[in-house]
Amino acid sequence: MILLQIIISGLLLGAIYALFSSGLTLIWGMMNVINFAHGEFVMIGMYVAFVIVTFLHGGPLVFSPAAAILLFLLGIAVYFGLIRAILRGPMIAQILSTFGLALLLRYLAFWLFSANFKTLPEDLIPGVLNLGGILIGMPQLVAGMAALALTLGMHLVLTRTALGSQLLAVAEDRQAATLMGIRPDRMQALAWGVSAAGAGVAGALIATFYYIVPTVGESLALIAFVVVAFGGFGSVPGALAAGLIIGVIQSLSAYWFGPVYKDVVVYALFVAILWIRPQGLMGKV
C-alpha cells in the first residue's frame, strides 16, 4: 500500500520533470545546444509564483500563466542576445555561455531574495486526497496533472500543428527547412521561448509544495539532463516516459535509502546510461 503511494507520488513529480525536460530536449534536438541555465529558468518560475502570491496576492491561476509568459520572453531574449551568437562557435563558448547565464541568474536571485528558504502558503491548494488509504497532497496532484497535460499538449502541438511541424523541420534539417520558406531563426527563438516557458510553469507548479531557494536550479538541471539523456535527445515522448520513470525511481530511492540519496541514485543512473545505452529510450545519440 505504501509502495503504491510512493509510486504515485513519484509519477506526479515525474510529470513535472517531464514538463521542464521536454523543452530542454527540444532545444537539443534543434540546435545541439545544452542549456545549462535551464534549472535557473525553473527557479525563476518558482520566484515568480512567490512574488505574485506575496506581493500581489494572486493564486496559482495567476502565477502559472505569469511564469509562462515571463519565462517565454526571457527565453527569446536569451536566444537573440546570446545563443544565436555562439551557435557556430567553439564548444567552450557554447557550454560556458549558458553556464555563465546560470551563475548570473542564480546569484542575482541570491542577491534579491537572500539564501533563506521560502515557501508558499499551505492553504493555496488545500487538502489531501484519500484514495482508499493512499494519501496524495492536493498541490502535488494538481501540479502533476497540470504538468502531464502541458507535456502532452506540447507533444501534440509539435506533431499535429503546422507550427509544430515547422519546428520539427528545423530540427531535422535546417537547410532544407530554409528552402521551404521556414525561418530557422524564428523557429529556434520560439523553441527557446517555449522551453523556458515550460520550465517556468514547472517551477511555479513545484513552488506550491516545495521550498524555494536560489540553488534549486542546480539539482533540477541535473535531473533534466538525466531525463533528456534517458529519454533520448530530441524526443518529447521520450522525455515524458523518462521523466515519469525517474520520478518513480527517485521516490523509491528516497524511501529505501533515505531522502538524501534520491538525487545520488539519479546521478549514478546517468553514468550507467552512458555506459549501457547512451541513445536512451527513444532518441538519437
Binding site: 567553439p90 567552450i92 557550454i95 560556458l96 555563465g100 546560470a102 545519440v285
Partner: protein, 323 residues
C-alpha cells in the same frame, strides 16, 4: 614586448619579498594554487576541448585523501597525496571512457553529475567526516607534515608545482600528444580522418588533468588544514577553475596563470569590500565575465591581445603555436 615574460617570471619568484605581510603572502599562495588548478583543467578543457564542469571531484579527492590518512592513521598528510591521485584517475576512467565516444555535451553533463554524486555521498559518510569535514595536523609534528605558519613556504612549494605542471604541459604541447589534442578540439571528425585515435587521447588528457587537479587539491588541504564537502567538491570549485582558465585563454600555456593573476586579487577585493553579501556579488561578477567572454572573446584575454597587436604585421598573422 619580449621583456614581459622574463619580467613576469622574476616578479613571481620575488613576489613574497616585494609584497610582504600575511595578507599578501596568503593571496600570493592562493593565486598560485588557482593557477595550478586552472592549468590542470586547461589540459583537458583547453587543449583537448573537452569541457569538464565537475573537476571538483578530482580536487576534492586530492584534498580529502591527505587529511583522511592523517585523521585515521596519523600519517603525514603527504602520504595521502598518491591516494588522491589514484582515486582521481579511477574516476576519470569511469567518466571518460563511456562519454568520450559520444558528443561533447554528454561528457560535460556526466562530469557535473559525477561531482555532485561524490559531494553528496561524501557529505553523508561518517568515515570521511560527513558534513563536518576533516582537519589536518594543528601543529607540525615533523617537517614532513608540511604544516607551516607562514604562507611563504607554501608559496614556493606551489610555485615549484606550477613550474612542473607548465613544463610538462609545454613538453606535451610540442609533441604528438599536444597536436592531437588540439586537432580533436578544432575538429574531431577531421582529426580522426587523419588517424588521431580521439577517444584514447581524450582519455589521456582527462587522466593527466585529473592527476594534477588532485595534486592541487592536496596542496590546498596542506595549506588550509581543513576540508569539507562544499570546499572540496562544490560546483563553485569547478567553476573557478574554468573561469580562471577561460579568462586568460583556454588552450594556451599561460592563459590560466594570467586568469589567476586577475581573478584572485579581484575576488579578494570584492569579498572584503562587500562583506557578507560580497560573495554573492563575486559570483554575479563571475557569471557576467563568463557570459561576456563566451559571447565576444571565447579565446580569452590572450586572444584579445593577439588580435589587438596583429595590426602591426597584417601580412603575417602569426599563429599562436607557430612551430
Amino acid at each position: 614586448m619580449r621583456w614581459l615574460g622574463p619580467a613576469g617570471a622574476v616578479l613571481l619568484i620575488l613576489y613574497p619579498w616585494i609584497f610582504t605581510g600575511p595578507f599578501y603572502e596568503r593571496m600570493g599562495a592562493d593565486l598560485l594554487l588557482a593557477a595550478i588548478a586552472a592549468s590542470a583543467w586547461n589540459i583537458v578543457g583547453g587543449y583537448a576541448g573537452q569541457i569538464s564542469v565537475g573537476h571538483a571531484m578530482f580536487f576534492g579527492a586530492g584534498a580529502y585523501a591527505p587529511l583522511l590518512v592523517y585523521t585515521h592513521w596519523q600519517l603525514p598528510p603527504l602520504a595521502g597525496v598518491p591516494l588522491g591521485v589514484a582515486a582521481s584517475l579511477v574516476m576519470a576512467v569511469v567518466i571518460g571512457m563511456p562519454s568520450f565516444r559520444l558528443r561533447g555535451h554528454y561528457f560535460s553533463m556526466a562530469t557535473i553529475a559525477a561531482a555532485e554524486l561524490v559531494r553528496i555521498v561524501v557529505g553523508n559518510w561518517d568515515f570521511v567526516g560527513a558534513a563536518i569535514g576533516l582537519m589536518g595536523p594543528p601543529v607540525a609534528r615533523t617537517v614532513l607534515d608540511l604544516s607551516f605558519r607562514s604562507a611563504v613556504p607554501y608559496y614556493y612549494l606551489f610555485l615549484a608545482v606550477l613550474i612542473a605542471l607548465l613544463g610538462t604541459t609545454w613538453l606535451l604541447e610540442r609533441g604528438r600528444m599536444g597536436y592531437y589534442w588540439r586537432a580533436i578540439q578544432a575538429g574531431e571528425r577531421a582529426a580522426r580522418s587523419l588517424g588521431v585515435p580521439a577517444r584514447r587521447y581524450k582519455l589521456y588528457a582527462l587522466m593527466l588533468s585529473a592527476a594534477f587537479t588532485s595534486l592541487a587539491g592536496s596542496l590546498y588541504a596542506l595549506m588550509v588544514g581543513f576540508i569539507d564537502p562544499d570546499s572540496g567538491f562544490g560546483i563553485l570549485v569547478s567553476i573557478e577553475m574554468i573561469i580562471t582558465a577561460a579568462l586568460g585563454g583556454v588552450g594556451t600555456l599561460f592563459g590560466p596563470l594570467i586568469g589567476a593573476i586577475i581573478l584572485v586579487p579581484l575576488k579578494t577585493a570584492t569579498n572584503s569590500a562587500f562583506g557578507g553579501g560580497g560573495s554573492g556579488l563575486t559570483y554575479i561578477l563571475y557569471g557576467g565575465i563568463i557570459l561576456l567572454l563566451s559571447r565576444f572573446e571565447p579565446g580569452g584575454l590572450l586572444e584579445l591581445w593577439y588580435r589587438l597587436t596583429a595590426h602591426r604585421a597584417p601580412e603575417q598573422i602569426e599563429a599562436r603555436h607557430a612551430a
